[in-house]
């Protein structure tokens, strides 16, 4: 029997959960949906079955957080399955302050629900205007973001593009696994939140090279309009003896600070650097990043020759303000037409992060099992979620699995076919040690 997908909606009070629920219920999608609403819920729509529930978090086995479940869901969903007219989809709305862990765990832990339902996805709504009030000090807020499969940045009309991009970077650094959608009035496409089970980690990696490493190697990007001419990059004394940068031509309608352009810059960034001394030349569109030597005191100037007019993107390892960096033409500063700051790899202050690991080569199933079991026993409390697509030695099919805290569930997926075989594993959690996780995963290679 096909399992019934369950979508969990989380988000702080005022983030737009009810608006999204109402949209889902009123839109004509042909699905029979049952909604389990928290005790403060306010939906009243006739065509859908709406069940009010007190959120009852049950601890078991001496309070182990990984065995904590939502007792009300076990009861209500068990009863719902006694109807012949079964449902196509279940939506569970949590209260604003809810920890999403117990909701998700319920579908792994309970004998009956595990057989009948599958957790399709956790959708977290984020109030783009007010989330910063909670992001620093609310563990619930962080956990809701960390647990999400889909993050809806809602109320984007209330913030600037700059603020929005900062927020997006921030949440992506906490949870690189989630699909991030922007919305006003929760106006996201319904399939993007209801059919998350189709989310393909492998495809996400293929189309987004930085998916597994959302921390950009540069802190700043600026877009400049240039003519065929000689420009200069001028720097004053700064905190470091050198700084790396990449300069690229962009398409005429493209901005350097957009994600797509930034990700192309990341690819160049990974090449070996070319060191340039003051008065040396920076080539636009070079296939390698340049490292500006800045150890001499006083102003330093580098030649930036534009062989043709157009739009260029300048990516710098540190913020221009740290070095008083300017682009000059004939001694006069040229202002960027657009700019953005990026979360740098070494400066995240969030306790909650994600670690993605990509491995070529086949995995030994037994070693993996041992490693994951041990890892979850030791660190299960801090690992919120885990997802992976694995290339298991001796199996013609992809092995997909996901976990919540200490619980995990894996199965054989479709055959690899012509697809390149490789393994991707993502952890989201608190105090994650990227090196140790990568090292551990590598030891599972066959």
């Amino acid at each position: 029997m096909k399992k019934i997908p369950v979508t969990v909606l989380t988000g702080f009070l005022g983030s737009g959960k009810t608006t999204l629920l109402n949209r889902i219920l009123t839109e004509n999608h042909g699905k029979r949906i049952a909604v389990i609403e928290n005790e403060f819920g306010e939906i009243g729509i006739d065509q859908a079955l709406v069940i009010n529930a007190d959120e009852e978090v049950f601890e078991m086995n001496n309070g182990c957080i990984c065995c904590t479940v939502r007792g009300d869901l076990i009861r209500i969903l068990g009863n719902l399955m006694k109807r012949r007219d079964k449902f196509d989809h279940i939506l569970v709305e949590t209260t604003g302050m809810a920890d999403p862990g117990p909701v998700a765990q319920t579908f792994f832990v309970d004998d009956d629900l595990r057989d009948l339902f599958s957790l399709d996805g956790i959708v977290t709504l984020v109030d783009a205007k007010h989330v910063h009030l909670h992001l620093e000090d609310s563990s619930e807020c962080k956990e809701q973001i960390a647990f999400a499969d889909v993050l809806v940045l809602n109320k984007t009309d209330l913030v600037s593009e700059h603020e929005l991009e900062q927020l997006e970077r921030r949440v992506t650094s906490m949870n690189s696994m989630a699909k991030v959608l922007r919305a006003q009035n929760a106006n996201v496409p319904i399939p993007a939140v209801l059919d998350v089970g189709g989310f393909d980690l492998g495809r996400a990696v293929a189309t987004k090279p930085t998916f597994l490493e959302p921390e950009y190697p540069f802190e700043w990007a600026g877009t400049f309009e240039v003519e065929e001419s000689v420009y200069e990059v001028a720097l004053e004394d700064g905190p470091d003896p050198s700084m790396d940068l990449v300069v690229k031509y962009l398409e005429s309608d493209e901005q350097a600070e957009t994600r797509a352009a930034a990700e192309r810059a990341v690819r160049t960034w990974s090449e070996p650097v070319l060191t340039v001394a003051p008065a040396g030349r920076i080539e636009i569109g070079a296939s390698r990043p340049v490292r500006l030597q800045l150890d001499a005191a006083g102003s330093k100037r580098f030649e930036l020759r534009a062989p043709r007019g157009g739009r260029i993107g300048l990516y710098t390892q540190h913020l221009p303000s740290e070095f008083g960096l300017q682009v000059l033409r004939g001694g006069i500063a040229v202002r960027p037409s657009g700019e953005n700051e990026f979360a740098a790899g070494h400066t995240h202050d969030d306790q909650v992060t994600s670690v993605g690991i990509h491995l070529e080569g086949e995995i030994d199933g037994e070693r993996l099992n041992k490693w994951v079991s041990q890892l979850l026993r030791d660190k299960g409390t801090d690992i919120f979620r885990m997802k992976g697509i694995l290339n298991i030695k001796g199996s013609p099919s992809r092995f997909v699995f996901q976990g919540v805290h200490m619980l995990f569930d894996g199965r054989e997926d479709r055959p690899w076919g012509a697809e390149p075989r490789a393994s991707d594993l993502v952890f989201i959690g608190r105090k994650l040690d990227r090196e140790a996780l990568t090292e551990g995963f590598k030891r599972c290679l066959a």
Binding site: D54, E56, M60, C67, D72, K82, R83
Partner: protein, 346 residues
């Protein structure tokens, strides 16, 4: 005791159905009247049925709870019954199928529990965190304070003088005799099933964390049986209050309360089902235990005599209801697809 399989047991015979019928949807609840003349069946499509036990003839079929029936309970004299389901009201009916009145649960939550006292003319309902008790006319006589979480089970003392309710956090007992005190047994676990021994001495509960917990009421002393592979959803006492049958996975585990047991003893393990055991019922007259399973099988056992099944039958889907004729003349079974069957047992 290994290798007992369906199809090759010694001396085991198939139960003969007296009648079969289609209840229309998931058989959520069933009860047989004390005089053994009819049964009341609550169904997933929201209907409640009265069926003549001798012939299988349908006496009535009424829409009771739009979203689905969750519980039915007959009055001891067989003239009325109460139902609850996926809506905020329970209902009181005449045994002939006419609605007497609604019993509001007092909130937006479903009334998930209904239990008619074996004596004393009281009906208990559980909705959300509150228990309400009504008289046989459907008038509210008691509403409890909210429990620490949603009421998960209700059971009356065999003589009807006290009511027990479980929730996550323990068991509450309210007496209905003057001067007696309310009792509460704390247990930090989600109690999903409840069985009060017929001699009123022991309350046993299945817990979400795959254990069975029981309290001896005289001393208040509690014990726990752990090691179940699944949560024990079904519990049943034999009529002498000596054997407690419990479900877990496919194995039926029977604890013996004679002597100093069951503490420190090994339980009987009844193995023959191939799927998780879902229903258990001891015959009120003989020491015969009926067990139903997810694998559609129904088996009869005599745990005092042996650990092999003595009779067997099959429904067509997961067994969701089992009840005995009060004089041990037959067994009623229902499944998740709406099949009802009454087997002869002689």
């Amino acid at each position: 005791m290994l290798g007992v399989t369906i199809g090759a047991p010694r001396g085991k015979t198939e139960l003969v159905p007296r009648w079969k019928c289609d209840a229309g949807d998931y058989v959520a609840a069933a009860e047989i009247s004390k005089d053994g003349r009819f049964c009341i069946v609550g169904v997933g499509d929201g209907r409640v049925l009265g069926i003549d036990l001798a012939t299988g003839r349908e006496l009535f079929r009424q829409l009771a709870h739009e979203g689905g029936v969750l519980g039915v309970s007959l009055s001891p004299d067989g003239t009325q019954f109460a139902t609850c389901g996926q809506e905020p009201n329970a209902k009181l009916w005449r045994a002939t199928g006419e609605l007497v009145r609604e019993l509001p649960g007092g909130g937006a939550q479903w009334v998930e529990q209904v239990a008619w006292a074996p004596a004393g003319g009281r009906i208990a309902t559980g909705a959300g965190r509150k228990v309400r008790v009504w008289n046989a006319e459907g008038e509210l006589i008691v509403e409890t304070e909210p429990l620490s979480s949603t009421v998960s089970n209700l059971a009356w003392r065999a003589d009807g003088t006290a009511l027990a309710a479980t929730c996550y956090g323990g068991v509450h007992i309210w007496p209905f005799v003057p001067g007696a005190k309310t009792r509460r047994f704390e247990w930090k676990g989600s109690l999903i099933s409840l069985a009060w021994s017929p001699d009123a001495k022991v309350i046993a509960c299945g817990s979400q964390d795959s254990s069975v917990h029981f309290w001896r009421l005289a001393s208040g002393q509690d014990s726990q049986m752990t090691g179940y592979p699944f949560k024990p959803k079904a519990l049943a006492w034999d009529s002498e209050s000596k054997l407690l049958a419990t479900s877990g996975d496919a194995t039926v585990t029977v604890w013996d309360f004679r002597g100093k047991g069951p503490e420190g003893t090994r339980p009987l393990q009844l193995k023959s089902h191939k799927g998780v055991c879902t229903r258990l019922a001891f015959s009120p007259k003989k020491g015969v235990l009926a067990s139903g399973s997810q694998d559609t099988s129904v088996l009869l056992w005599e745990p005092r005599r042996g650990t092999q099944p003595i009779r067997y039958a099959f429904l067509e889907d997961e067994v969701t209801a089992l009840c005995w004729h009060p004089e041990h003349r037959g067994l009623l079974g229902g499944d998740a697809s709406g099949n009802l069957c009454f087997w002869e047992v002689s």
